[in-house]
């Protein structure tokens, strides 16, 4: 007997620990198959502790009748109860992991079961006086009964015992084509907001709303509606504080949509038989009902659209390459879409390889792939294909008839192919196609109309047709050079993206028109500061606006520079080197240290050629013209030259033209020709504009001189 007790009590400890583990790690467990079978013995096993514990409890209370062998028998039974209870609990835990049970009941059953097994363990491991032991046993029995009750609910359902007494068994709401407005939309509202008080059991106001017959009958205050009169609507529409308002103040209220809908339904006679689908799509009742249906039926679980079997994941994975994507359209759908990419990499066997998933593919996009009429044969076996996009392929349409073999093909796109109207007759008998796209094919607007008449069940779309009369202004030529500074040997290059457009240009001259100016053929050679104006022309288009570009040839860079005057505090640049660093700024952002700003002082700077002394014939100062920001051309520029800063003579001076009205902001140059000379030292003086032009309307302001670079050529 001792050995028995010992074995049992050790086993019970072990089982309890396992139960705790299962409890704690419940969400992370994976149960091997063999263990699932063990779990399924639970419904068998659980009857043992029920019987044993009941007997044990009875014996405990009937101790007097078992004087001789009471103790032994009692222990024996108690230990067995504890053991079987623990085993049952553990098995139950395993079984619960399989899922599929009513969550609420399961929760109670589980915790009461665990509590029971712990109580049993407690009963065998602690010696208690009979005074305590008996109530404890009774408590355990009580827990046992509760556990058993919830357990029975789980397997047999809540109404198992009293079920036969209940009159109606409600079926789950399923929406079908033949659902009536009542079952689809009225019932869900009643169930959510009325059933709790107006059912067979409670029937407040003697009104029962759980069946059609009962609704028609009404309650103690009479029928719910008759003609235009409606007791139901009266009650629903009473102010919420009114004693007779329904639903009562503290219960869930009907929404405005629900009220509108019920009212409309009643005004239409409150017909229980009207089917949702029999109402026209724009019918008020149907529109109102669909809101309710959405609310009560379209819950998070989205039904899948396709019912065919899915293809194995590894097979799908196998088919994916950089040039062919095969993917499930959604996690809950077996349907596949296939896209092809990169014409150069395409091989027609890429289509053949799809054979293994031919039953799942619903959409194929072959845009731009080099497939031809002969390849269309390959799609014949894709019986679930709904959408085929063949835009810009080499298909010419001779074999379109093979697509009639696809019973589900709804959409075909042939845009950008050479298909002609005649070949589309192949679809005359096709009953599945709904849309065919034919933009930029041999099919014109008029043929579209004919097709539409002949095959009205298909929507033919030839897309956009430009208004032939509308003349549009061509875009200006595009400069290909990176910036304004031309590196040594760099030539100016233009392009126009419209094939056939002609570019005409003029260097340092007036705007070109369609007969003047040079026609742009090769890159333009620019060796001095220049403004190039260009324009694009093409038949059928208006000529473009003038495109104007300013170029500064890079020239020879002086070895060093020094400033004789000080720029304004906020626009210091990076010192004198700013002028010869070949970096140019944006025309309207002067905080950038490539810019230097002068206002109260003129710009005076020295430039030195220390090593190789080049021959210089012109000097260009690059400055910003931004009339809004008062950045003006200098009023005068002088260039001085000599062997050093002390022996300079004036080589040239020049007064740039000042703008006479608002002109666009840009970076331009003041370009001065000097007699060709080889000096070691040059001085540049650029005077700021002391008085802004009249039109600027700022009589008291001085002009800014914003400079970013000086070029020597």
């Amino acid at each position: 007997m001792e050995l028995f007790k010992k074995t049992i009590s050790y086993s019970v400890v072990a089982l309890q620990v396992l139960i705790v583990i299962l409890l704690v790690f419940e969400n992370q467990l994976s149960i091997p198959l063999w263990l699932q079978s063990v779990g399924r013995v639970h419904p068998l096993m659980l009857h043992l502790p029920i019987g044993l514990l009941l007997i044990t409890t009875l014996i405990a209370f009937g101790q007097r009748w078992f004087t001789e062998s009471y103790k032994e028998l009692f222990s024996f039974l108690l230990y067995l109860s504890a053991f079987t209870a623990s085993v049952s609990a553990l098995m139950g835990m395993v079984l619960s992991l399989e899922g599929g049970y009513n969550e609420g009941d399961l929760l109670f059953h589980k915790w009461f079961g665990i509590a029971l097994s712990f109580m049993c363990w407690f009963l065998i491991s602690v010696s208690l006086s009979p005074k305590i032991q008996r109530p404890a046993l009774l408590a355990a029995t009580l827990v046992l009964v509760v556990t058993g009750h919830f357990g029975a609910n789980l397997t047999h359902g809540e109404d198992f015992i009293f079920g036969p007494l209940a009159q109606e068994v409600k079926s789950e709401r399923v929406l079908t084509d033949s659902s009536t407005v009542f079952t689809a939309a009225i019932e869900p509202i009643l169930e959510a907001k009325c059933y709790s008080c107006h059912n067979e059991q409670k029937a407040k106001g003697k009104l029962i709303l759980t069946s059609q017959a009962a609704i028609a009958k009404g309650g103690k205050n009479g029928v719910l509606w008759k003609g235009d009169e409606s007791l139901l609507m009266d009650r629903l529409n009473l102010p919420i504080d009114h004693k007779k308002h329904m639903p009562p103040k503290d219960k869930a209220q009907l929404t405005d949509d629900e009220l509108d809908f019920i009212q409309t339904w009643i005004l239409r006679g409150g017909n229980f038989e009207t089917k949702v689908n029999s109402l026209p799509a724009t019918d008020t009742l149907r529109l109102l009902a669909s809101k309710i249906i959405d609310q009560y039926h379209n819950q998070p679980h989205v039904k899948s659209i396709y019912s065919f079997a899915s293809a194995p994941a590894d097979k799908i994975e196998e088919l994916n390459t950089p040039y062919r994507t095969v993917f499930r359209i959604a996690a809950n759908e077996p349907a596949l879409q296939v896209d092809f990419f990169l014409r150069e990499a395409f091989d027609s066997k890429f289509i053949d390889e799809l054979k293994s998933v031919k039953d799942q593919v619903v959409a194929i996009n072959l845009s731009k792939m080099p497939i031809s009429d002969a390849d269309l044969n390959k799609f014949k076996s894709f019986t679930n294909l709904e959408k085929l996009i063949l835009n810009q392929t080499d298909v010419e349409g001779k074999t379109l008839a093979v697509l009639n073999a696809l019973p589900n093909l709804k959409m075909l796109s042939l845009s950008g192919t050479k298909v002609k109207a005649g070949e589309l007759s192949a679809f005359e008998k096709n009953r599945s196609l709904r849309e065919v796209y034919l933009w930029n094919t041999g099919v014109g607007k008029q043929e579209e109309t004919t097709l539409q008449q002949r095959m009205a069940h298909i929507r033919w779309d030839t897309g956009y047709h430009p208004d032939e009369k509308e003349k549009m202004r061509l875009s200006p030529p595009i400069l290909r050079n990176d910036g304004q500074v031309l590196k040594r040997g760099e030539r100016v290059s233009y392009k126009h993206n419209l094939p056939g457009a002609v570019i005409r240009y003029v260097v340092n001259g007036e705007m070109p028109d369609s007969v003047s100016g040079d026609i742009y053929k090769d890159e333009i050679n620019i060796d001095r500061y220049a403004i190039v104006k260009s324009k694009a022309f093409k038949d059928g288009w208006l000529s473009s606006n003038v495109s104007e570009h300013i170029f500064f040839p890079e020239g020879v860079k002086p070895d060093r520079a020094t400033l004789l005057t000080k720029p304004e505090d906020r626009y210091m640049g990076e010192g004198a080197s700013t002028l010869i660093d070949n970096r140019k700024g944006m025309p309207d952002f002067y905080r950038d240290p490539v810019w230097m700003g002068f206002r109260n002082q003129n710009l005076e700077a020295l430039f030195y050629f220390d090593k190789n002394i080049p021959e210089i014939s012109n000097v260009t100062l690059s400055y910003a013209r931004n009339i809004y920001a008062m950045c003006m051309p200098p009023s005068e520029i002088q260039v001085w030259g000599g062997d050093d800063e002390k022996n300079l003579k004036l080589l040239a001076s020049y007064k740039p033209e000042q703008p006479k009205q608002y002109v666009p902001t840009r970076i331009e140059g003041a370009d001065i020709a000097i007699p060709p000379s080889k000096f070691k030292c040059y001085k540049l003086v650029a005077k700021t504009l002391t008085k802004l032009p009249e039109f600027r309307k700022a009589p008291k302001e001085k002009g800014w001189l914003m400079v970013d670079e000086v070029f020597f050529n």
């Binding site: 072990a14 790690f25 989205v302 595009i478």
Partner: protein, 482 residues
């Protein structure tokens, strides 16, 4: 141990230890059932397979972001009452204490301004569209207007960041990054999220790369900016003197070395890097083809307008967006700057509209004629609306409008969105939403829904909590979904 207690419990130390060992043994047995017990914690969001939760209405998005906030009152939200009350003070009962920006807070009067531009109804749907947008008017029956958008921010940067990332402060993943993360790339030769910028002729506001950031998501989800120059994607071309053949050989060798590195260290970043090199190699073929518009027929140029021939223009970006989307790019994000008309509205807005109208409409039509519109969502709109009262002096022919977060209009077209439909309504002053408000979070939830994603399930764990594009709010606006 106390002997009385020992007796009571029926155990002594030896028993206790004996039972403990049994307990430990069964604990060990139990642990066998927990496969991941000693593997550290795994985030289930990593299990995302790039498949939508349910059948999507659309597969791709093109977002034509009108940066700076175009005025809803001169475009789609027709308010004749403002013309009637032109110059009169905004009633306090309408303003209801709405805060002002620093730009109008000093203003003494708030005179109402009616639209300078005429409105007309278009299409069978009878949508009101102003004369500034004649081409959009032609496709009115394809568009779904949401006139009841509202946001929380009143200044550009936070509003723009909110619209793009679901948070005002930045550093959260952009919409495109979330979609790249949730759905993956359709075309493995191109990034899943591409960004195109253009500048209009009106008063502009900046855009920054934080708007197309991957935030805390993996960097492969970051938006790739296509530039307007000769090289649309920077650093993609082979260096001078390297041909495709030697590039291939170099990559093969590099990949061998990287594989050795991966075997040694097991760092998944190494495999990611190998894949990125391979993708860049394939992009070398895919991208030049996209940038080349010389093969587009003449009438495509006429459709988008000749500006599409100028790289970097809005029209050129719309055309490029169509090509990218057609090639399976999940999310193409355009930003068109210049819609911030605080003043000179009647001067600037026609220029902005001229640049945006034709090309936006063309994009919708172009997708349609290729049979792609039903799987692509096109979105057009800004970050907030503009006030119904004048900012600055109300002139005879000119005025300005300040920022207005309480109501603005956007439109959507294509994949799964109702056609020729208007959702939501503002009051007759165009100031407050009076019907079916759509918050930015709701807008995001709806967009994700159209793409087959549940906005509550698309999460990423970062700094100890799970983040969503809609954070803790958002509801799908079902009525706009076809």
């Amino acid at each position: 141990m106390n002997e009385f207690l020992e007796n009571r419990l029926g155990i002594n130390r030896r028993h206790f230890l004996g039972k403990l060992s049994v307990g430990l043994g069964s604990a060990a047995l139990g642990s066998l059932l927990i496969p991941g017990l000693f593997n550290g914690k795994e985030d289930e969001s990593l299990a995302l397979a790039g498949i939508p939760d349910f059948a999507p209405k659309a597969k791709r998005i093109i977002y034509l972001f009108q940066n700076g906030a175009p005025s809803q009152l001169e475009s789609f939200d027709y308010k004749p009452m403002l013309n009637k009350m032109h110059g009169q003070e905004l009633p306090a009962s309408v303003r209801m204490g709405q805060r002002l920006t620093g730009m109008t807070s000093g203003q003494k009067n708030f005179p109402l301004v009616g639209s300078y531009f005429k409105f007309q109804q278009h299409g069978q749907s009878g949508s009101w569209i102003s004369e500034l947008f004649p081409h959009m008017a032609k496709i009115a029956d394809e568009l779904c207007f949401i006139k009841s958008m509202h946001t929380e921010a009143i200044n550009h940067d936070p509003a723009l960041t909110f619209m793009q990332t679901g948070a005002q402060q930045g550093n959260r993943p952009s919409m495109g990054a979330w979609l790249s993360y949730g759905l993956g790339s359709e075309n493995k030769n191109l990034p899943a999220f591409c960004v195109l910028l253009s500048r209009g002729r009106g008063n502009g506001q900046g855009v920054y790369s934080k708007l197309w950031t991957n935030g805390f998501l993996d960097s492969v989800h970051q938006g790739v900016q296509f530039s307007s120059g000769e090289e649309p994607v920077l650093y993609l071309n082979n260096p001078t003197g390297t041909d495709r053949e030697s590039r291939r050989r170099m990559l093969d060798k590099l990949s061998e070395l990287n594989s050795i590195g991966h075997e040694t260290f097991g760092d998944p970043e190494i495999t990611a890097r190998i894949q990125q090199y391979e993708m860049a190699y394939r992009m070398q073929t895919a991208v030049p083809e996209l940038a080349d518009i010389s093969k587009e027929p003449d009438h495509i140029i006429k459709m988008y307008g000749p500006e599409c021939l100028v790289p970097g223009s809005y029209a050129a970006n719309c055309l490029l967006a169509r090509k990218l989307s057609e090639s399976g790019v999940r999310f193409v994000q355009l930003y068109h700057q210049g819609w911030d008309q605080h003043g000179n509205l009647t001067g600037e807005m026609p220029l902005q509209a001229q640049d945006a109208d034709r090309a936006s409409a063309a994009l919708v039509m172009d997708l349609k004629q290729r049979g792609l519109l039903d799987e692509t969502v096109v979105i057009w709109g800004g970050e907030f609306g503009r006030t119904n009262y004048c900012q600055g002096d109300l002139g005879d022919k000119n005025y300005g409008r300040d920022h207005h977060p309480r109501a603005y209009t956007i439109w959507m077209a294509g994949g799964g969105v109702k056609k020729g439909f208007t959702y939501g309504e503002t009051d007759e002053f165009g100031y407050n939403v009076i019907k079916d408000p759509v918050h930015v979070n709701d807008f995001h939830a709806t967009i994700l829904h159209l793409m087959g994603l549940d906005h509550e399930k698309l999460t990423f764990k970062h700094l100890g909590r799970r983040y969503r594009l809609t954070d803790v709010a958002g509801r799908v606006v079902k009525p706009v979904i076809a």
